[in-house]
Each structure stands twice: as C-alpha cells, then as structure tokens.
C-alpha cells in the first residue's frame, strides 16, 4: 500500500555527529541557516550555503537519495515559483525571450534560479533536522526553547505534548486506515473508481470507523496518562535532561559564523 511509503518528517536513526547534537542546537542551527538563506544576495552567498548543507548531509549519512525523495511533494510549488518569477520579473535590458505576452528578462532567470535554490535549500535544511532528530527529542527541544513564552500565558507544555502525541499516532492511524480499507474492500467497497462525488461517498465507510477508533485511542491514552498521575507541565521533570556540551557551542558559533559570512559576502556583490 502506498500509504505506508509517506515520508513525513521521517526520522533516520543513526549515531553521527549530527544525530548526537543537542536537539535545541539543531533547531537553532536551522534558524540561523534560514536567516542566512534569506540574507544571501549573490552567488557566493548561495554557494557557501549550499556547500555547508552538502557537508551537513555528508556528516549525517542519511544519503542524498532520501533528501531528494523528501523533495518530491514540494516539486510542484518549486516549479510554480520558478515560472512565476521567470515571467513576472521586470528587467531593464532587452528581453531574452519574447512571444505573445511573455517577456523573459535576464533578471527573471536570475531571480527564478535563486528562488528555486532558496526553496530547495530551505526544505532540505528542515528535512535534515527531522531526519536526524527523533520526534520526541524535537518536541522536547521546542518546549524548552519556547519556555520563556510561558510567562505570556502561552501553554507551551500542553502544545508540545499535543504535538508529540500527534506525531506518535501518525503511523498508527496510517496502519489503521490500511486495515479498515482492506476490510471494506473485502466487502466490495470501491475506493478507486467513480466520479468525485462517488469517491467522496465511498470514503464514509473508511472515515467513520477511523474516527471512532481515534476517539477510542484518545480515551484510552487519557486514562493511561491519568493512571500515571499526569497533570500537565507544572513541576514536571524529565527522564532525559537536555544539556549543551562543547560540540553544541562549537556548532552554534559555526551557525552564527555562517550568517556573518553570508552578510560579508553580500558586500562583495558578485552577480
């Protein structure tokens, strides 16, 4: 079944330097990277950013194939952005191509190219984050990083808990969907043919049991959590304490360095 093949921020277990970094460091690095990405104005800056990401992928050993596989779902957006930028960027000189109402200028080609590069680097960088960090660590890190917002009465712990529960149940629900689909197909249900309305109607035998089982699971989970005296984030300690070590500081300095380098390269003004 194709449902199982979805990579949705899938975690690739491993034991590389990138896997071992503190999840908070990795989130901050990603933020630095994105900031640098939006600062970059010329080819040198982009080259530096692309190069550093390639090095990071090599360190993580997740493989370029996995990275490209994750790119597939956003392919359409990338192409769409490229076309829009290509066609709608006004230029000063002579248009490179001109037919009907389409005028493509050199500036358009340049913006489209950099825009595509920017989107791809952006996505790859966040993919790399989820590929090398388990969802649980990721939400833990988010919770601590967003901790200061608690003062503004934002329920950070509850949000993080909701996120980790949601992440935890995605594979379970996919499996469940698969199972119910098979069961209804065995009774002659047809999910693959008919017009849009018929297909939407055919989903009822799938969605009703799915919702019921999701509610049942939620209920069971709530009872199980209460049995273990869960009562929210107040005064709650963690089994796995997050602690920065030397490599985290080094990585953060490197991330900051990347931002400064891109800013400096902008001054050089190549292209």
């Amino acid at each position: 079944m194709a449902l199982k093949d979805i990579t949705l921020g899938q975690y690739f277990p491993g034991d590389t330097l990138l896997h071992r970094l503190d999840p908070r460091t990795k989130i901050l690095l990603a933020v630095f990277y994105i900031v640098a990405l939006f600062m970059a104005r010329n080819a040198l800056g982009y080259a530096l950013l692309a190069l550093s990401l390639i090095v990071a992928i090599l360190i993580s050993r997740v493989g370029f194939q996995a990275v490209f596989r994750g790119m597939k779902p956003v392919f359409f957006i990338v192409v769409f952005t490229a076309v829009l930028n290509l066609v709608y960027t006004p230029g000063a000189g002579e248009p490179l191509v001109a037919f009907w109402i389409v005028r493509i200028y050199w500036e358009g080609v340049r913006t489209a190219f950099f825009m595509v590069l920017r989107i791809m680097l952006l996505i790859t960088c966040t993919f790399l984050l989820t590929y090398t960090t388990s969802p649980i660590l990721l939400t833990d890190a988010l919770e601590t990083l967003l901790g200061p917002l608690k003062r503004l009465r934002i329920p950070v712990h509850e949000l993080a808990m909701m996120m980790s529960i949601a992440l935890r149940f995605i594979p379970t629900l996919i499996e469940e969907t698969d199972k119910i689909m098979s069961a209804q197909k065995a009774r002659g249900a047809d999910f693959e043919s008919g017009n849009l309305l018929q297909r939407a109607k055919a989903l009822i035998p799938l969605l009703v049991p799915l919702f019921i089982s999701a509610f049942r699971r939620a209920d069971e989970l709530a009872v199980a959590m209460e049995c273990r005296c869960y009562h929210g984030g107040e005064g709650r300690t963690r089994m796995r304490q997050l602690r920065y070590v030397g490599r985290d500081y080094a990585a953060l300095v490197l991330g900051l360095g990347l931002c400064i380098a891109v800013w400096a390269l902008n001054r050089l003004g190549v292209f």
Binding site: K179, K185, A186, R187, G188, P205, S213
Partner: protein, 289 residues
C-alpha cells in the same frame, strides 16, 4: 478428488521490494482449499498467514505466481478480481472495528448492496445472515455502536456472510472473546458451513480450538507451508511444530509423554473425547489380558 475451489500456484509476495526494508513474506506457496471443507491455518505472528489470506480474495496482488478461484485467475481482469471479493468472504481480525452504518441492518447490507443485488434479495440475505449469527430482529434497527463487543463481532461476521461467499475466511474470529462467546461464534460458523456447504478457512494460533473443529490443518512458517494434513498427521510432527514456536494440543502432549513412559496408548489423540476413548481402550486391553 474434486477440484479445489481456491488454489495458489507458486505464489510469492515481497513487501517493499527494492528498499532496505524488503521482506519476502511468501515464497512459492502452493495452497489449496476444497469445496465444503473446514480448513485451519496456523502459524505464529509474522509467518505470512495474513499475507496468504489477503491474496485469496485479491486484496494483495502476487509479486509472482497465480491465484485461482473456481479455476479462474483472479487477476485476469478487473471483473474477475471483483468477483473473487464476493466469492471469497474475508473476515479480518477484530472485524467490529469496521462497522460504520447507522443501523445494524444497513451495515450488514453493505456487502450485498455493493454486489448490485435488488432490494428484495438484499433484505433476504441480511435477515438470513443475521439469523446465522444469532442476532434477534430487534437488534437490526439499533446502532451497531450500542451493542456489546461479542454482538458487534457477530454483526461484522454477518456483514460478510450476507454476501453468501463460497469460501469464508476468518482471521482469529474468537480473539478477545469469553469462552461462551467463542463457542457461539464457532457454532455460527459451523451453521453457515452446514447450510451453504461453503469452504471455511479459520486462522488461529490456538491449537486446542483448531484441533477440535477442523478437517485439515495447514501450517505456515517463514512464508512457506511445511506441514499440511489432518490434525492427527500434523500433530505427529511435534518437534517441528515446537521449533516453529507452535506446539501441539495439551492432550497430544500428555499422551506422547505417557507413550514415552512406556504406556500402551495411542499417542495421536488431540481432544479430550479422543483421550477418553484412548484410555478406555487401553483399560479394556489390559482387562482382557
């Protein structure tokens, strides 16, 4: 011998082919089921038994090999696959989780309706299927979600029986039920078998239950069928079964041990009734001496 109603020829199935998660779930499986027989399939978790049954009604497509239902390749055309779904009824594990309609009646009629039958025929089948599984008429207008666990399961089984399949496959139909529920479900299944002369295939890992109720046992292990025969023949291979993590019924174990201790008993028994017979005949022999 009569020709088989379901037959697989060199059936292979590989999950996630070409990825690091590649797993060969079935390897050259030649499986046969004959009309009107009560067949048991045993195998531990991950042996490939669920993969096998999902091929029998065309839910999974073989990686290689063929599946024939009533001598017709079910992947020959779309119509043939659809036909196979109705000829071979498959009841999944915990089938109560597939209920979705507002009333029991509507839920049971889902299968027959998909077959494109007319209202009168649907009504006949729903009522008959409900009777087979012992659901009283007043339940038919209730919501399936108000029923008890055992009743929900019977509704789900009725939903498959209502398609009047020539082969009824049930995956662990009694899992999670109390002893009375187990006996009721097994009786319902037997009633359907007797009334329609359908082939019944039951999957279970409870040796005791299987031994008592089936004519033939098929053992699935590591994607192959190493043992196939009457319960008596299959349980004679105790060492092999135990190596597969399956074991034999308690009665067989007792009698094999008695035999090993030097008692003059028939060690191929597998039910309490047979054990009683074996004891009595052993005593008679002793008395005659």
């Amino acid at each position: 011998m009569t020709s088989p109603i379901i037959q697989t020829e060199k059936l292979c199935h590989t999950y996630s082919a070409g990825t690091p998660f590649e797993h060969r779930a079935l390897i050259d499986v030649d499986f046969r089921a004959y009309p009107g027989e009560l067949l048991g399939i045993i195998g531990h978790t991950g042996s490939g038994k669920s993969t096998l049954i999902q091929h029998l009604n065309g839910l999974l497509k073989p990686t290689s090999g063929r599946v024939l239902v009533e001598d017709r390749d079910i992947w020959e055309s779309k119509a043939a696959t659809r036909q196979a779904r109705f000829r071979v009824g498959l009841v999944f594990q915990y089938p109560e989780y597939q209920l979705f309609e507002e009333t029991v009646y509507k839920d049971i009629s889902f299968g027959p309706r998909n077959m494109g039958l007319d209202e009168k025929e649907i009504d006949r089948r729903v009522r008959q299927a409900a009777a087979f599984v012992g659901l009283p008429d007043k339940v038919l207008d209730q919501s399936p979600f108000e029923l008890s666990g055992g009743q929900k399961r019977r509704v789900a089984i009725a939903g498959v029986i209502a398609m009047e399949p020539a082969v009824l496959i049930l995956d662990e139909p009694t899992a999670g039920l109390d002893p009375i529920g187990v006996a009721q479900i097994m009786d319902n299944i037997r009633d359907y078998h007797a009334a329609k002369n359908a082939a019944i295939i039951v999957i279970s890992h409870s040796m005791e239950e299987m031994a008592r109720r089936v004519d033939r046992l098929v053992v699935v292990n590591d994607g192959r069928i190493p043992l196939d025969g009457s319960p008596r023949e299959v349980f004679a291979h105790r060492a092999e079964l135990e190596a597969m993590g399956l074991g034999v019924p308690r009665m067989t174990r007792v009698f094999q041990r008695l035999k090993a201790l030097g008692a003059d008993v028939d060690s191929s028994v597998y039910t309490v009734e047979q054990a009683k017979e074996a004891f009595l005949s052993a005593f008679r022999r002793k008395g005659a001496m």
